[in-house]
Symmetry: C2
Subunit: 172 residues, 2 copies
Amino acid sequence: MNETLDVILREARPNDAGNIIQFLKQVSKETPYLLSKTNDLTIEEEREYIEISNQRLNSLLFIAEVNDRLVGVASVTASQHEQLDHVGEIGISILKDYWGFGLGKELMHEIIRWAEQSTIIRRLELTVQERNQRAIHLYEAVGFKTEATMPRGIKIDSGELLDVRLMSLMIN
Amino acid sequence: MNETLDVILREARPNDAGNIIQFLKQVSKETPYLLSKTNDLTIEEEREYIEISNQRLNSLLFIAEVNDRLVGVASVTASQHEQLDHVGEIGISILKDYWGFGLGKELMHEIIRWAEQSTIIRRLELTVQERNQRAIHLYEAVGFKTEATMPRGIKIDSGELLDVRLMSLMIN
């Protein structure tokens, strides 16, 4: 598309908690590609999650806003165990109305930049439904490589078991 | 080895909690192949974990005893989210003195049998350090297939990043 959006990308702040909860509710209604349903956090719990995420050197919660509206969220989470604290797992979701504007790619670039500066993250990984080819192409475009296709990696509402792809990017 | 052991394999019971904690402490001292350090649960927390594990249809905690001594633990854990409740993740550990007697294979057979009868588990998966070839051969021998080798999947105490293998077995 040629239309461009005036987007602000920034780290989430504790008082974004309410908007993030609303956002996640809408995303889980409109997107068939989620790999896990959103946890039903209270605003207080979400606020605490944001605070912890901001404090840790190996986790990130990043948001995209258009005209003061929260339209995308990207997260990196990592274990606090030292054997795994260098592995960042990516989650990313964007409101359906804002698909196709390149927002996902911008969020991925922000995540990669952040990881490169983190000094702790050495491997970024993500899982994505195999049928979500649009997302897979986006991840490939920013440098992710396929490590595996996992049969029966997810069960959708119909009960059908679908393949899930595991992708990664090494950070140096 | 030709020596045989008199082994009892059974589901863990709540009053195994203390022995399991001792067992996990010893294993984490003597085994360089663990993928995550044991959480330091109290006896009360471990007891609760066993009770929950016994109640759930998609989780299992199984132990091996030799002369009343706890020498091996095998677990299957699965998400309570319905998209992932069919994916059982396997963890298995055996005291070093009891390596080489086929205990690992017996525990894996128990897990697979249990999964086949569970009606809920449709995919078993595990991760294992690539350098732990003995374990990889065991998993292959009971039917597991390699899905991926994940570069930098784990950081060992020296700080070195090692490959981790992802393996799975479909359950029908």
